[in-house]
Structures are given as C-alpha cells and as structure tokens.
C-alpha cells in the first residue's frame, strides 16, 4: 500500500520536530518520492548516519511500502 507525502512528513516530524521538510512526489504513484530535510539533529553525523536516522524514523517502511525515497539531508546553515 503506497504512502502519502503527508504520512512521510508526519513520521519525520515525530523524530525531527525542528526540521524543515520538503517532499516531492516524483511519479505520483505514492512510491517514488524525494525528501529534503534540514535539522540540527544531523549535526556531527556522517551522511550514512543521517540517512539511517531518516530510515529509522520511517519505521521500516523504506524498501517496503516506500520503494524509492531520494534523500537530501542537511544541517541548518548558520548552525543556530
């Protein structure tokens, strides 16, 4: 059962309440999204660790209900 963008955003906000999140529906099939997430929680983490944090926030849906999620994680520019 594919996912809605809002479902992804809700799951992410639960783990990254400070985050600025943008989700693009790449194909309109609920299965292929791109997500841009900026959060202080990524500070000091490697890219792999940042993406693993996002996958964990999605509670196992990545690779199952959610086939493709192009991820772009970043930390706030001025580190505030």
């Amino acid at each position: 059962m594919p996912m809605k963008a809002i479902e992804i955003e809700d799951l992410l906000l639960k783990v990254f309440p400070d985050a600025i999140i943008k989700i693009d529906d790449l194909r309109g099939d609920g299965d292929h999204y791109a997500a841009y997430i900026e959060s202080k929680k990524f500070l000091g983490k490697t890219k792999v660790q940042q993406h693993q944090m996002v996958y964990n926030a999605l509670e196992g849906r990545m690779g199952n209900e959610l086939h493709a999620l192009a991820l772009n994680t970043s930390t706030p520019k001025n580190g505030d």
Partner: protein
C-alpha cells in the same frame, strides 16, 4: 542473520577494494539507482567488483541487515560501507568521492 550468510557477505566485502552490491550487472543494470552508481564509478575510472543481488535472495536481504541500510545499491570501499545511490551521487557532485577514493589508495581518473 545466519552466520553463513554473514560470512558470505564479509568475504565478498573483504576480498575487494571497491565492492558494489547492485541489482543486475554493470552492463545490464536492473534498477535506475544501481545504474547511477555504476555510472559514477565508470566516470571516475574506478575498478570495482559487483554482486547481483537479484541472483541471491540471501545476500539481497542479508546485506540490508548487515549494513543497517534498507535499500540496494550499497557501495563498500576497503570494507567500509560508504552509502547508497543518494550519498554516492551527492559525494560525486561535490568532489568528495574522488577525494575519498584517493585517500583510500584507489586509482581514480
């Protein structure tokens, strides 16, 4: 994960400087994300080995648990997990990937 699968994966990773777990083969990738990583490695002129996870269900699932990473492709350099398609693409775009490979003693164009 059963030991023999873990050993199988470890052997594959330990016996190659650059190992890509992918869907399909470099000449016949079966997924856009796998094709993208192959493209980056070819563009950099890196010598790499691959495992077609579509031909081994044990590895296809085992590798995800091994690296705590839910998707394929997965790139390993000198036994270390570097990332999937997004990370490799991002590192390549900002020049980080060729620097990293240089640092690890991997020949790059």
């Amino acid at each position: 994960m059963i030991d023999n699968i873990k050993n199988k994966i470890e052997n594959l990773i330990n016996n190659s400087d650059v190992m890509l777990f992918m869907k399909g083969t470099p000449s016949m990738p079966q997924c856009g994300f796998s094709a993208a990583v192959v493209g980056v490695l070819n563009h950099l002129g890196v010598k790499f080995d691959t495992v077609n996870v579509l031909q081994d269900q044990e590895i296809r699932e085992g590798i995800k648990e091994f690296s705590n990473w839910p998707t394929i492709p997965q790139l390993y350099v000198k036994k270390e997990f570097i990332g999937g398609c997004d990370i490799i693409r991002e590192m390549h775009e900002n020049g980080e990937l060729s620097d990293y490979l240089d640092e690890k003693g991997i020949k790059v164009n």
